[in-house]
């Protein structure tokens, strides 16, 4: 077990900055998820930590050792690949034993550790088979068992569930979380699936275009995205962003939405006050839709019944908004409705920069998010929690 420190790492592919001056600290035993759209550099960052990519700048420290110049085999890591990379010419046993054999472990030790790893993943019965004789889900387990058998300081996982079908993925997700929780190893987990990131990570590091955008625990990021990109990427449906103008009136503040009406704000005065042209960010579940009353004026465009709730798309002035409603609330297409935005759950963004105003409101200290500026260095403060 060990802490991982990524210090100002830069990785270039020709002229492209695949990883651009990224700093990140993963605590001992922490489950850190690297999340971002494809091509954002998350896998490259993981491979750099594994030693499979040479970095052009910065340092990588695992435990107390600077491993920047070390080859993968000397970093005391184990990696699970997206394709699993299970060796097809070896039995499952030999696959799991591979790393131990490279270490010249004794025969009895190898046998014991392979069986232990196989038991953890419930693949004892497959040990004599060849990978071609196993299913995709089993191969994924073999790959994890092979990594765990090494008893590495650090476990690196590159989208290990993305090749599984949806049902199996759901199952494997929960089991992997349980397993890694039991083992307590320091884990870096790469995914583009925000649900996976939310549900598994102790903390989530969101990346875009080679840069680290926001680091924090899943709920903090969900409620307090640092910019429009994060708010739109995390959560399903994405956070709504509406153009608004905030004015002071009658001793309070009012946000006016063109063509829809206004929202009276409950500002407690402790943080940055929104004023002028801003973006109003609000999650679908923090919106209430009623038939009448004094809310914003809207018109129902689409109702999507999802069983546990309905997803309603509403035309609000010139903009569209997604809200969730109870499944028994009857709403029809083209129906005129009133929309109530919970003023305490609003995330205010600068209208031009599309970056959150203020910083310490929802996130709190230690969420890895300093004052919000476009300076990436400030948004990645590698503060440890606990």
């Amino acid at each position: 077990m060990a802490e991982i420190r990524v210090e100002r790492v830069t990785k270039l592919f020709k002229q492209t900055r695949a990883v651009d001056d990224v700093s990140l600290t993963i605590d001992d035993g922490e489950f850190m998820v690297l999340l971002g759209p494809s091509g954002c550099g998350k896998t490259t960052l993981l491979r750099s930590i594994a030693g499979l990519e040479q970095i052009e700048g910065g340092r990588i420290v695992i435990g107390a050792r600077d491993v920047t110049e070390l080859p993968p085999r000397k970093r005391n890591i184990a990696m699970v690949f997206q394709s699993y990379a299970v060796f097809p010419h070896m039995t499952v046993f030999e696959n799991i034993a591979f790393g131990l054999r490279m270490r010249h472990a004794g025969k009895a030790d190898i046998d014991r550790q392979v069986r232990e790893a196989a038991e953890l993943l419930h693949i004892e019965s497959l040990l004599e088979r060849f990978p071609a004789e196993t299913s995709g889900g089993q191969r994924q387990r073999i790959a994890v068992a092979r990594a765990l058998a090494m008893q590495p300081q650090v476990l690196l996982m590159d989208e290990p569930l993305s090749n599984l079908d949806a049902l199996l993925r759901l199952e494997a997700r929960a089991e992997l979380k349980r397993l890694l929780g039991e083992i307590g190893s320091t884990t870096i987990y790469v995914t583009h699936d925000q649900v996976e990131a939310m549900s598994m990570g102790d903390r989530v590091a969101v990346m875009r275009a080679g840069k680290l955008v926001q680091v924090g625990d899943p709920l903090t990021i969900y409620d307090g995205p640092v910019d429009r990109f994060v708010g739109g990427f995390i959560g399903n449906p994405p956070m709504n962003f509406l153009a608004a103008t905030v004015e002071r009136r009658d001793g309070g503040s009012v946000a006016m939405l063109a063509g829809a009406g206004e929202v009276r704000l409950a500002l407690d005065g402790s943080e940055t006050q929104p004023s002028g042209a801003v973006l109003l960010g609000i999650r679908a579940e923090n919106i209430e839709v009623t038939d009448d009353g004094d809310g914003l004026r809207g018109r129902v465009l689409v109702v999507e019944p999802l069983g546990s709730h309905n997803l309603v798309t509403i035309q609000l002035g010139a903009e569209q908004l997604k809200a969730t409603t109870r499944p028994d609330q009857r709403l029809e297409r083209d129906q005129k409705v009133r929309v109530h935005i919970d003023p305490t759950r609003i995330r205010w963004l600068d209208a031009e920069l599309e970056v959150a105003l203020g910083a310490e409101d929802a996130a709190g200290p230690g969420a890895g998010r300093g004052p919000v500026t476009l300076e990436q260095r400030d948004t990645q403060a590698p503060t440890a929690e606990g």
């Binding site: 085999r73 184990a78 990696m79 690949f81 990379a85 790393g99 071609a132 004789e133």
Partner: protein
């Protein structure tokens, strides 16, 4: 409101007769193909073991009526044949070893590393075969004399290696391309140096392809007459010896020679075939 369920057209099960005809055609094709290869081999073998006086029988019986080892023994015991035979075997084995030792790493480099001029290199490799060997013959013979490797086994092997290399390089490179790079990377995270990862993972996985390249190389070297004739004089390889000694010989000796030429290739191909089909976990043991 429910829509009336439309009848889904079921895929018509293929009639038994149709299937039998289809299978029959496949077997017919396979049989013809096998005959195409096997018939000459069979005829050569039969003729090689036919007594001399029956060699010119017409119509020739397809079933050996009288078996005799006279011709074949006479041929084998003729002066220089056994020596040539072993020379050919050694040349082919050296060629095999050299072309794999040089060709496989070159193929691996083309497959794995994006170096400057890679596509150009790939083209140049192949273009060496665009040179007619006839044009190269005289300068080659002169150079070999200068180097003192004319009329030697190793000299011929060098020539054959040069001829085989372009194909070995291209075949092995496409083989290594098909071995996922992640497998090597996984091996490296599990404690391998890059070389160990190659030896323990990529090489065994590439074995079927390497076997194909090996068969190709063997056949090329074993069958080559031209280079062998130019480069050897007193120490000919078997094809060179046969060409020199038997063009004027009676046809039954030619059959005997053909048979002797055949056997090692068949043996070698059968040995290498094991690796050609060695797909792990898919072979029924």
């Amino acid at each position: 409101m429910t829509t009336a369920r439309e009848p889904v057209p079921m895929p018509r099960p293929r009639a038994g007769r149709e299937r039998i005809v289809g299978r029959g055609l496949i077997y017919l094709g396979a049989t013809l193909l096998a005959l195409f290869i096997l018939l000459p081999i069979y005829l050569i073998t039969v003729s090689a073991f036919t007594p001399r006086e029956n060699a010119f029988d017409f119509p020739h019986s397809l079933i050996p009526t009288a078996v005799s080892t006279d011709t074949i023994l006479f041929f084998i015991n003729a002066s220089g044949v056994i020596d040539s035979f072993w020379r050919s075997v050694i040349v082919a084995l050296i060629t095999l070893a050299l072309s794999l030792l040089i060709g496989a790493p070159a193929g691996y480099a083309i497959a794995r590393y994006a170096f400057r001029g890679r596509s150009g290199y790939r083209l140049v490799v192949l273009s060496t075969r665009a040179f007619p060997i006839v044009i190269l013959a005289i300068p080659l013979a002169v150079t070999y004399r200068l180097w003192g490797i004319d009329d030697t086994v190793i000299g011929v092997a060098f020539m054959h290696t040069a001829l085989a290399l372009p194909f070995t390089v291209l075949i092995t490179s496409s083989v290594f391309v098909s071995v996922p790079r992640e497998l090597e990377e996984a091996a490296q995270t599990l404690g391998c140096t890059p070389l160990q990862a190659f030896l323990r993972v990529s090489l065994p996985l590439a074995l079927p392809g390497l076997a194909a390249a090996a068969i190709f190389t063997w056949v090329l070297s074993w069958n080559d007459v031209f280079a062998a004739v130019i480069l050897t004089l007193r120490n000919p390889t078997l094809p060179a010896k046969i060409l020199a000694a038997l063009t004027q010989s009676p046809i039954y000796f030619q059959f005997a020679a053909g048979f002797v030429m055949l056997i090692p290739s068949v043996v070698v191909i059968f040995v290498i075939r094991r690796y050609l089909l060695g797909l792990w976990g898919r072979v029924v043991k």
